[in-house]
Amino acid sequence: MVYVARRLLHLVPVLLGISFLVFLLVHLVPGDPVRIMLQDVGSPEQVARVREQLGLDRPIYVQYVTFVVRAAQGDFGRSIHTRRPVAQEIRYRMPFTIRMAVAATLVAVALGIVLGAIAAMHHQSALDYGTMVIALAGVSLPSFWFGLVLILIFSLHLRWLPPTGADSALHLILPAITLGSGAAAIIARLTRSSMLEVLRQDYVRTARAKGVPERRMVYRHALKNAMIPVISIVGLQFASLLGGAVIVETVFGWPGIGRLAVDAIFNRDIPVIQAVVLVAAIIFVLVNLLVDLLYGWLDPRIRYT
């Protein structure tokens, strides 16, 4: 409990720091941010109105406190482009991104653990080398290209799956595979090295000497213990999939927050960008915290170091 409380307490300065950096985004824009947001076509009255709307006419510390207080209440202001509340847009889009990231994580975990375990069980065989070459190819794939190749094969040629849209579970398959492939490769490599490490341990040797069948030993003993470091990387991968989702959402016309961010950049819609970056960073930090806590629960040695 003390460990959990301490970790939660550490979260406060991190969240404040994140909010400060995100707040600074608007002030780091070279030139007058309001003119840039209005793409130099606004009248002086419009410029003044937007400046007031964003609170940019007030002292900077007042602006920051207002930003944090509002953000904590889920208020991110209004979009410069659509004039709609940004929070409303995020609330609508977020579930799409989460759905895709969860599906991609499932693909990555299933594929990564199976490939990694196969490679470790057949250490230094052709199967091991082949699997690891596939894993290396996985981390080298540009996701936007891989997505287009999948659309070409499974949607346009075989007509098995829809190419774009987000209407049904079928629409989720290709984006999840595209987004999950890189993470699958990283998980496969870690599972392999972690299992090789465990297979060298004394208790595995003892089990083997006692005549425990190889297959049972791998599944009952080795895989379970080898999963501890893998869990931490799964959490990290889930969080970074949120960043990768930007590209995959664009390829598959998926209406998530990644696509929202890209559109906002073209419209120089800074409040929307601030909100997306802030929400993604908070999710990233919270998922990492959750993984750390889970890790401490699985391996109590970690809590005491």
């Binding site: 720091g17 994140i18 070409l152 664009t250 890209v262």
Partner: protein, 300 residues
């Protein structure tokens, strides 16, 4: 990058120590690297793409940006090995010229993060104390932003364009590098020869330059190769989104993006140039893995 060892490099540690006695760390490392098939293959692929991009004007006569509507969407043939795009431009020529752009985005981005990250990591690790504390808190905060999203936020501030993409990826790579360099410096700082240098009156800057830096160079080189693969991928990704190279520049990500709308009629426009990205990144990853196993197996 990935954290496990590559099986193709299992021979890495077998260099006979007695035979290698008296040889430098670098010589032993290169001997190991040469025996690593994967790394050699990776280096060859990278070299091929670098040479092909550099020699593009001599390899192809076709202009990468000249519009020729009469040969629009020509399928791959002897005349146009990768076909042509919606403007009738030869795709082989665009891929060859584009290689220069995409590779330089990765290289310059990495150079930017090296110029900021290496000195910061060196000083932070060597000096310790309050300076180190402040730097590490900033680094932690920086790392709280998921990779590509930080780059996107920076492009959002600076505006779309290839130069801004390089800066964004470069800045995004700084915190990871600072952390790595600092960690390496911490282990070197405690060694006797650094103490000896200090006792004999060496100044901090001198000790960092002549004693600490050469001893942390190997992991930096390894990580740079692996980061190059990531930087190239981020660069082409941002250009694919339209945030990097602008038309008609023949950048790899932009070429794939242009072909997206014609996937049904002209599959080659998006798919074939993408192979170049995949092979180059795979080459850098193979080479990086090999370098890691040869020079710094601790990074596995």
């Amino acid at each position: 990058m990935a954290s496990a060892s590559s099986p193709a490099t299992s021979a890495a540690g077998t260099v006979d120590e007695t035979r290698s006695a008296g040889r430098s760390h670098w010589a032993i490392g290169f001997a190991r690297l040469r025996r690593n098939t994967g790394a050699v293959a990776g280096a060859c692929v990278v070299l091929c793409f670098v040479l092909a991009s550099a020699l593009a004007p001599w390899i192809t006569d076709d202009d990468p940006v000249q519009v020729q509507f009469e040969q629009r969407f020509a399928a791959p043939s002897w005349r146009h090995p990768l076909g042509t795009d919606s403007f009738g431009r030869d795709l082989l020529s665009r891929v060859l010229y584009g290689g220069g752009l995409s590779l330089s985005v990765g290289l310059i981005a990495i150079a930017i993060s090296d110029v900021i990250g290496i000195p910061l990591g060196l000083v932070s690790g060597y000096r310790g104390g309050r300076f180190d504390n402040v730097v590490m808190r900033i680094v932690d905060l920086w790392l709280a932003f998921p990779g590509l999203l930080l780059a996107i936020a920076i492009v959002a501030i600076l505006g779309p364009g290839l130069q801004n993409v390089m800066i964004a990826i470069g800045i995004g790579g700084v915190p990871g590098l600072v952390r790595l360099v600092r960690g390496q410096v911490l282990s070197v700082r405690a060694l006797e020869f650094v103490d000896a240098a200090r006792v004999t009156g060496g100044g901090d800057a001198h000790i960092i330059r002549t004693h600490v830096f050469p001893n942390v160079l190997a992991p930096i080189v390894v990580l740079t190769t692996l980061r190059l693969a990531g930087a190239i991928l981020s660069g082409v990704g941002l250009s694919f989104l339209g945030l990097g190279a602008q038309p008609p520049a023949p950048e790899w990500g932009a070429i794939v993006a242009e072909g997206r709308s014609y996937l049904r009629e002209a599959w080659w426009v998006s798919t074939l140039p993408g192979v170049a990205i995949f092979l180059t990144v795979m080459g850098f990853n193979l080479l990086g893995d090999g370098l890691r196993d040869a020079f710094d197996p601790r990074l596995r």
